[in-house]
């Protein structure tokens, strides 16, 4: 019941923030209306990264406690995270086209790092898909998730270095929205969007985890069932 309320609140919050971003907040002086997509883009990207962190942390939990529920969390975070990440990249490209003139800019650390994040997600999910045994899958996924998560900050810094050393600070930089000196209404909208999206993320995580955990429990019950039937047939045979 509480989850349903959360879901409703999240939906309303996201819808409200979308309306604010589209109609209430003023357009950027330099970038015009195209800048509006930055709000959901940044929010999605943030959640994409958060999800990967959760995946990696849950992997550590599995390796440490060997409780399948950790793996259920890891799976949920990965599936939800990949969607947010894909959306963030799409949003970034949609923004880039009118503002940069091109849909892609190699020296934008956020865009390139997020693209790499998507590749890491895809590899992670494929690895899970290709491993049948649940425990082996959980272990492999956990270590791959950890190593990938460790890699992400390095990627970010290296691309930033890449840009910094070439000193191309463009006017059309997405960082403007995150600049603390930006007008309050921009910052406020961004924070509001962030909050709304995070609520939605929490809701989705809860739902996905519930599903995953049911799956785990079902699998576990089936295993116990098979063990019991072995015992019974052996008893009968005696």
């Amino acid at each position: 019941m509480k989850t349903r309320i959360l879901g409703a609140v999240a939906l309303i919050a996201v819808a409200a923030m979308v309306l604010v971003a589209l109609f209430v907040v003023p357009a950027d002086l330099n970038q015009g209306d195209a800048q509006r997509i930055m709000y959901p883009h940044v929010a999605s990207a943030w959640l994409g990264y958060l999800s990967f962190g959760v995946t990696a942390a849950a992997g550590i939990g599995w390796l440490w406690k060997r409780d399948m529920r950790f793996d259920a969390v890891a799976l949920s975070a990965a599936e939800i995270g990949v969607v947010f990440t894909a959306f963030a990249i799409w949003g970034g490209m949609m923004w880039g086209d009118p503002v940069w003139g091109v849909m892609w800019q190699w020296e934008d650390p956020r865009l390139t790092t997020t693209a790499l994040l998507l590749a890491l997600y895809v590899g992670y999910l494929l690895l899970r898909h290709l491993t049948d045994d649940p425990e082996r899958r959980a272990t492999r996924a956990a270590i791959v998730g950890i190593v990938a998560a460790v890699d992400i900050p390095i990627v970010h810094f290296s691309v930033e270095w890449w840009r910094g050393l070439h000193q191309t600070a463009t006017i059309g930089s997405p960082d403007r929205v995150l600049n603390p000196a930006a007008p309050m209404v921009f910052v406020g909208t961004l924070l509001g969007m962030l909050a709304a999206f995070t609520l939605a993320w929490v809701y989705l995580m809860i739902r996905r985890y519930q599903l995953a955990r049911l799956e785990v429990e079902r699998e576990e019950a089936a295993r116990v069932e098979r063990l019991m039937s072995r015992h019974e047939t052996a008893e009968v045979a005696r």
Partner: protein, 229 residues
């Protein structure tokens, strides 16, 4: 400290065993080298014949060739352990999982280093860049790049050694993680070849060192879980 030295000698024993098996009959190192050479040739066809364009692209082509060859090399080093269940047996010795990882990674490093130096020379010839003029920084870059590829590649080769669709999954998992190494190595190589006009060589080499250290630690910490099934 002597426990660490013991581990190190175990790792070296594993690397030596790999080297022996490689030299003896697998012809693996040689075929990987030829693969890298073929890749360079194809780059020449794809991007040539404009000599200036090739020279400009040379650092990138060098490291692309090495990274692709690296995927093959680490894959084969792990395949050595499919000889009649050798990997399972290796995991049964009373040695730390870290030592096994280190042993495999050292083997990978040696292969990548030799490969890297030869391909560096080949690039100098094929794409007309002055390798001899910047030998020290170029060799340093190759060394650091070899460490990174070996550290990351050994880990992922272990992950995929019994995975379905291994031939696709190994590069798919390994290459995105190698992106910072690729970036750093290419930039360092380009800086070295052009005489480092912006003074950025040091920064890129530092990036490579940081990358290598972090990846070695991450790989050593997690590789052991692969051996537990």
């Amino acid at each position: 400290m002597s426990a660490l030295r013991h581990e190190a000698s175990l790792a070296l024993a594993i690397a030596r065993k790999d080297a022996l098996a490689e030299l003896r009959g697998r012809h693996a190192a040689v075929s990987t080298l030829f693969f890298a050479a073929v890749v360079l040739l194809l780059f020449g066809f794809a991007l040539g014949p404009d000599a200036q364009r090739l020279a400009d692209a040379a650092p990138g082509l060098l490291w692309l060739a090495l990274v692709f060859a690296g995927v093959l090399a680490v894959n084969r080093l792990h395949l050595l352990e499919t000889d009649d269940g050798a990997l399972e047996q290796l995991a049964l010795y009373p040695i730390t999982r870290r030592a096994i990882y280190a042993g495999k990674a050292v083997g990978g490093f040696v292969v990548m280093l030799v490969l890297g130096l030869i391909v560096l020379g080949a690039v100098g010839i094929l794409f007309a860049v002055d390798v001899a003029g910047a030998v020290l920084p170029l060799v340093a870059t190759v060394v650091l790049g070899a460490v990174g590829i070996a550290a990351v590649g050994t880990f992922y080769a272990g992950v995929t050694v019994r995975l379905r669709a291994r031939e696709v999954m190994l590069p798919l998992l390994m290459l995105p993680v190698l992106a910072p190494l690729l970036l750093g190595a290419v930039k360092a190589t380009a800086a070295a070849l052009s005489g480092d006009p912006f003074g950025e060589l040091g920064a890129w080499l530092q990036l490579l060192v940081a990358y290598d250290v972090i990846m070695l630690v991450a790989g050593a910490a997690t590789y052991g879980y692969l051996l537990e099934d």
